[in-house]
């Protein structure tokens, strides 16, 4: 891997085909190579750039791998205590109803310690966007079991595999919040292939646009990988995700609002 794989001489303006959005700060991502967070960050910031709403957007970062999201996303942001992001987003939106407000949370943050805040923000129908990155494991703290860890899946706190009889079942938060009248758009996406990235970005765009209709929470789950936590190569992790995560967490829209002309 020590071999240089690009020729510095090709870095010229006229050769540029794919540009970093300046809505991402000029800072190297701290995520593991192969992780989905980087892509998710990028498409989120692209949506904000394309909608021209940087000055009108406030983000809330969680505790977990993306705790430092505010180091990468170039919008005003607040770091929440573990699980409390939807409570923060509620207050921000209530105080500044014309702003676009989003939370960016992992599965431990959103579906374990922050379950109450998630459910109640959704149930109140706050006009916010919740972005839920689900990789079925606690990445930052070193690979412990998450509420979304699959049955039989190994983690450092389920070393013999998740035993549903004693450790409970993987929680489908997204289906759960879709049952609440306070959510207007609930979808599950992935960012591991170019096609999925495009779909996920469209979903994020829809989610943000819906904030102006003030009809409730738009909720976007992104099923992602954790090659470090899963102890796989990035390529293997993506294959494993398709074969194991997607059957339990099927991709697609779960709830869409009525179209308006």
């Amino acid at each position: 891997m020590a071999e240089t794989i690009f020729d510095p001489n090709i870095i010229k303006d006229q050769n540029l085909v794919y540009k970093r959005t300046d809505h991402m700060k000029e800072k190297a991502l701290s995520y593991c190579p192969g992780c989905g967070h980087g892509t998710a960050h990028r498409i989120l910031m692209e949506v904000i750039e394309e909608m021209g709403i940087q000055e009108k957007t406030i983000g809330v970062s969680p505790v977990g791998c993306s705790v430092l999201a505010y180091d990468f996303m170039n919008v005003d942001m607040q770091g929440a205590a573990h699980g409390r992001a939807p409570a923060l987003a509620t207050a921000i939106k209530r105080l500044m109803p014309d702003k676009f407000v989003f939370t960016y949370q992992g599965d431990g943050d959103l579906a374990a310690i922050g379950t109450a805040e998630t459910i109640h923000a959704c149930n109140r129908g706050e006009h916010i966007t919740i972005i839920f990155i689900n990789n079925g494991i606690y990445g930052m703290t070193g690979g412990q079991m998450a509420p979304t860890t699959l049955p039989g899946m190994r983690s450092s706190t389920s070393p013999y595999g998740r035993d549903e009889a004693t450790m409970g079942h993987p929680l489908r938060m997204t289906e759960l919040v879709a049952t609440l009248p306070g959510t207007c758009f609930v979808t599950r996406q992935a960012v591991h292939t170019p096609g999925n990235v495009r779909k996920a970005k469209r979903a994020l765009r829809t989610a943000f646009e819906l904030q102006t209709r003030k009809i409730g929470v738009s909720f976007v789950e992104i099923v992602s990988n954790c090659n470090s936590g899963w102890k796989m190569t990035p390529v293997k992790a993506n294959t494993w995700m398709e074969e194991n995560m997607f059957p339990y967490y099927p991709l697609g829209d779960i709830k869409v609002p009525e179209k308006i002309d």
Partner: protein, 360 residues
């Protein structure tokens, strides 16, 4: 317009919040302070001033909503009673760490645990020594009348914004539930969008092209930087100790003995003073109004004057530690406390003073 009313302490806090330009209240019901949220809901402050009032799903959510509102540069507050305030400690620590100006009201009830719903001062340690994790202080105001319940809302916000620090009104069920006359202040307007940007340039109000993104956080993974953060916080607390000590001296000038008491206990001691002086015993009262910063110098000064100090508290002896520390051995310092929601009576307090110091 100023207005004289007969109000409960809890109601006075709510009305004062609307009048002092508070932007939002987030709270969860708990006895004996639910009148605050109830009063706000009846008053429709959204129609009066545009103030947001929201019943959250828990105290945990409430304090985090306060964190976020303060992070947007707004004047936001919450209130609760002891068990609920325990739940808020994590969020308060984050507010202190992120240097967010906000106001919290604790209408204390007896503990530990679910305890009782009757008044207590058992949360003194929690309030004045930090409360949550990490090295931090709250500005702690201890009202002893309904008028002060009202006045300290505005004062609490002023101090909170002056120091970018959470402020706490530490009161109890007795003052919360009691009605007295209160002169309500004239209403002031909430800050405009422009004023907010001017007063709180650090707030997350949306990133314009001409400034870097604002970030509200208490996280600093680099220990060297985190130590600097701590040093800055400590310097701020030292400033508070220099500038913001508030207390009331009642009949201290000729006093041979001194009660030290705050809040409800201070009211009780005032009556004890009348009883004592009728018997020819020269007693005074030092009433700390700020519990942090604590009136250290005044304690030391008075310790050099009197023959003994009695700390009267509705707890097992908490403020007495701060009094002893600052009396520096210049006079004996004793404690008398009732707990579990029992309030001492004025004659009982006097009897204790006589027993401890005069040998009656």
């Amino acid at each position: 317009m100023k207005e004289l009313r007969l109000m409960k302490g809890n109601e006075a806090i709510a009305e004062a919040a609307i009048r002092c330009g508070c932007d939002a209240y987030f709270g969860y019901p708990i006895t004996p302070q639910s009148e605050i949220l109830e009063y706000l809901m009846v008053e429709k402050p959204h129609e009066r001033t545009g103030m947001v009032v929201l019943q959250a799903e828990s105290e945990v959510a409430s304090i985090n909503m306060v964190y976020a509102g303060a992070g947007c540069g707004r004047k936001v507050m919450t209130s609760s009673s002891s068990p609920g305030v325990s739940l808020m400690q994590e969020g308060l620590s984050y507010c202190a760490g992120a240097e967010l100006p906000c106001l919290l009201v604790n209408v204390v009830r007896g503990g530990p645990g679910l305890g009782t719903i009757q008044p207590s001062q058992a949360d003194y340690f929690q309030s004045t020594k930090g409360g949550g994790h990490g090295d931090y202080r709250l500005i702690v105001l201890a009202p002893s009348s309904v008028q002060e319940m009202c006045d300290f809302v505005g004062l609490g916000f002023d101090l909170a914004f002056k120091y970018r620090n959470p402020a706490l009104i530490l009161t109890d069920g007795a003052i919360g539930q009691m009605m007295e006359k209160v002169m309500l202040p004239a209403s002031v307007n909430r800050w405009t969008e422009e004023e907010i940007k001017q007063q709180t340039p650090w707030a997350t109000t949306g990133k314009p092209a001409d400034r870097p993104a604002n970030v509200i956080t208490s996280l600093e993974l680099d220990s060297a930087k985190q130590e600097k953060v701590n040093q800055k916080l400590q310097a701020k607390y030292a400033e508070m100790e220099k500038n913001e000590v508030r207390f009331e001296r009642i009949q201290c000038d000729d006093a041979e003995y001194l009660f030290v008491a705050f809040g409800t206990s201070a009211r009780i001691c005032q009556k004890s003073i009348d009883l004592a002086r009728a018997k020819g015993i020269k007693v005074g009262l030092l009433r700390p109004i700020t519990l942090f910063p604590f009136p250290k110098d005044e304690i030391e000064k008075l310790a050099g004057q009197v023959k003994g100090m009695l700390s009267v508290e509705m707890n097992a002896g908490q403020m007495v530690e701060d009094i002893r520390l600052n009396a520096k051995g210049k006079c004996p310092v004793e404690h008398y406390g009732r707990f579990g929601g029992i309030m001492p009576s004025p004659d009982e307090v006097l009897k204790v003073l006589e027993q401890k110091f005069i040998g009656g």
